[in-house]
Amino acid sequence: MSSDRRLLLFNLLRGAAAIFLALLVATALIFLSSKEPLTALKYLLLGPVISFKSTGMVFNTVSFLTILAAMTPTIFSGLAVCVMFSASQFNLGGEGVIMLGGFVGALLGIYLKLNTGLHQVVCILAAAVVGGLVMLIPALLKVKLGASEMVTSLMMNYIIMFIILHFLNFTFADRSKGATQSFPFEATAKIPEIVSNGTKLTWGLVIALIFVVIIALFMYRTKWGYAIRMVGINQSFAQYSGIQVGMIIVLSQVIGGMLSGIGGSIEMLGRYNTFLWRELPGYGWIGITVAILAKNNPIFVPLAALFIAYLDKGCQLMSINSDVPFEMIDIIQAAIFLFFAAEQFLAKYRQRIVVRNAQRDLALQEAAVSREGKLS
């Protein structure tokens, strides 16, 4: 028993070590390229949660809450990717569907007149439905025609974006404003902040965390999640077992679409007052990173999302306060992926634990056998 726990601990430590090594690589690069490496590092690593005052360092609550707020949409997109990738459906449409979810949520937030409470629910549900419906397109193209969902969903992102921009420009724009944006949302549709201090940390995060639990249960404790995973592991096996593979392929992508739609609408109604996205918001791509870091396991999505949000903020601060460019984030992420993906990373240490455990088990077994022998 304790040996199992030790292995779990090892795996967590391994993840931490991968991140640590990636940061070391980043450090090395910063030292190589920067004239003020220490300042850069300080902002990268500590900046997100600590403010540097002349009097010393203080914990920066506001900044920390902003990071938490930034996790909300990426938790949703990460979950969406987890579900779709688990079925081996490499659907990249999350990006467009999040934007669409935001747009649908915004429109209903502007033009519907409902009581608060009900208003948000209706907006989010509508975004979920639209998101699910849109993902039917790549899903059905895959099932009916065998078209690669990766290609169709990728192209779909841009189609969605330009359709939204078209309607935003010609139908829903608030002409009184200089920039192209919609009219403001009704107050009843806004997702309220948890603490009203301008960090925009809304109840959306709580909803996101609830969805983490729901999706984890869905994937590992329901027949649909089971079917999705089996289709993902071996489609021939799933088919032969009697699982309706086509339906499951569609289901996984529709759920991915719904999650993306929800994420988009919550983000929009939580952190904005009008719809003003002029391009793809980028959360869909981050969702892929998050899902990979979480190894497609919903439970790890919040951790991964937190990490990415932290890193993002750190790189931002670093690029503002030092001469290291923001693009460093890409290098750090790539390094982390490499260490994460390297199965053999630290394998020696793992093996040592395992061998020790196995030897102990065998010794115990043999002792038990000889004891039995003596008794009889």
């Binding site: 040996s3 027949k223 089971y226 032969y240 196995a358």
Partner: protein
Amino acid sequence: MEQENLVVQMKGISKVYPNGIAANRDVNFTLRRGEIHAIMGENGAGKSTLMKILFGLEQPTSGEILVNGEPVVINSPNKAISLGIGMVHQHFMLVPSLTVAENIVLGMAPTKSRVFVDYKKAVEIAEENATRFNLRIDPNAKVVDIPVGMKQKVEILKALVRGAKILILDEPTAVLTTQETSELFKELISLKEQGFTIVFISHKLKEIKQITDRLTIMRNGKSMGVYETASISEEEISRLMVGRDVVLEVIKDKAQPSETVLKVRDLEYTDRWNKKMLDKVSFSVRKGEILGIAGVEGNGQRELVEMLFNLNVPDAGTVYANGKSLIGMPQNIIRDQGVSLVPEDRMTYGIADIASIEENVISDRFGEKRFNRGPLFNMREIHQESETLIVDYRILAKSRKQQVKMLSGGNIQKVVVARELSSQPTLLIADQPTRGIDVGATEFIRNQIVELSRNGSGVLLVSADLNEVIELSDSLIVMYGGKIVAYFEDTDQLDDITMGEYMLGLKHQTEEEIAKVCYE
């Protein structure tokens, strides 16, 4: 003198897998030049592991290896190949989307003059070696389309083409018919005479006695000793392996067939090379009987089974199970009719390799009421189901959570069989059900099949193992060239020789005699 003859010495080899399973424990193993050496042992005894270590696929936790007297570290298959060691794995390691010829030359050192081995050259190499070693293959066929028997030969050729002098064959005969096996044996003996050293893993005692010089017996990760094959009896071997006497005789009372469960009429199928694989195949399976299909691999059995489970669609003909047409039906409907299938190719259809044993045994029943409570799984029921199956079918595993791909070959097969036999089918299609399973477990599975049929299920048994079809079936059909060429209502009087004549197409019954297998 003795030392010089030893091409391989493995001393004190131990192996602990990353999941904590001690698969080899202080094993000593030697190979003499030019011998055929068997490794025997139950499923999960550690045979494949030991050979994977010799082939550089796994690293030993401790122990040393000497090749030709020199201590070596074999840290990769490339190293093994450079030492003249080749291996044919228990599960095929071919690239399905490439052709036979491409697979044979895959990854071979390119010649100086060009970087890529061109396709024509590949075919040439394949054909040349195929003739030289007398292994019949179709170099231009895609591996995904060829039967397992041919895959086996491709694997052997792959090793030989790379210059292997020591050839490790992990259960090569599990997939072969009697004829193919004796063909292979002739080849192995001629290889041996040319100075090749061969390691031969098999669960079939007769084969071991027939072809090997020495044998090493393994049990529970340990070596139980090395023996001269001539000086040890079959009984002794199985006692050393299992720890008890094994009777491989099936005890069954006479079948009492009742109504038909499966009605196949005039099935026709022409494959993509325009070869007629099924030619007006008609037969019935009745409740309470085991109908065997005998035949040399590649005579339509595989296609037939595929059609019965809608894994492929026939050009013409009908298939009815319990009065319901199965052609074009999704597998959940087929399974709803009480049809279950132990597939020939366990790795493709039978399992989800990185899923747990538990997840694998519930794949056909996870939707049932008893496993669900509202929208959620009833985990307790699921745990119980899998624990029961693991115990009943003697699946050797650390726990139900163990990934199936980390089981030994025979234990993977047990996972498939456990699921398919425990679903209380009205019709069980068993295609090579005991492939790769050790004697003890084979005995158990055969008895399970008999019990199923005596409790009223219909069983269609396809097996390359002639002994198995004759022993286990109540009645039997023989397929040759996509046709049914004989029907024996009673298998009691049958022997290998008569069967052989039908299987090789030397003899066939009249249409009337064959038509008797069509019950309404």
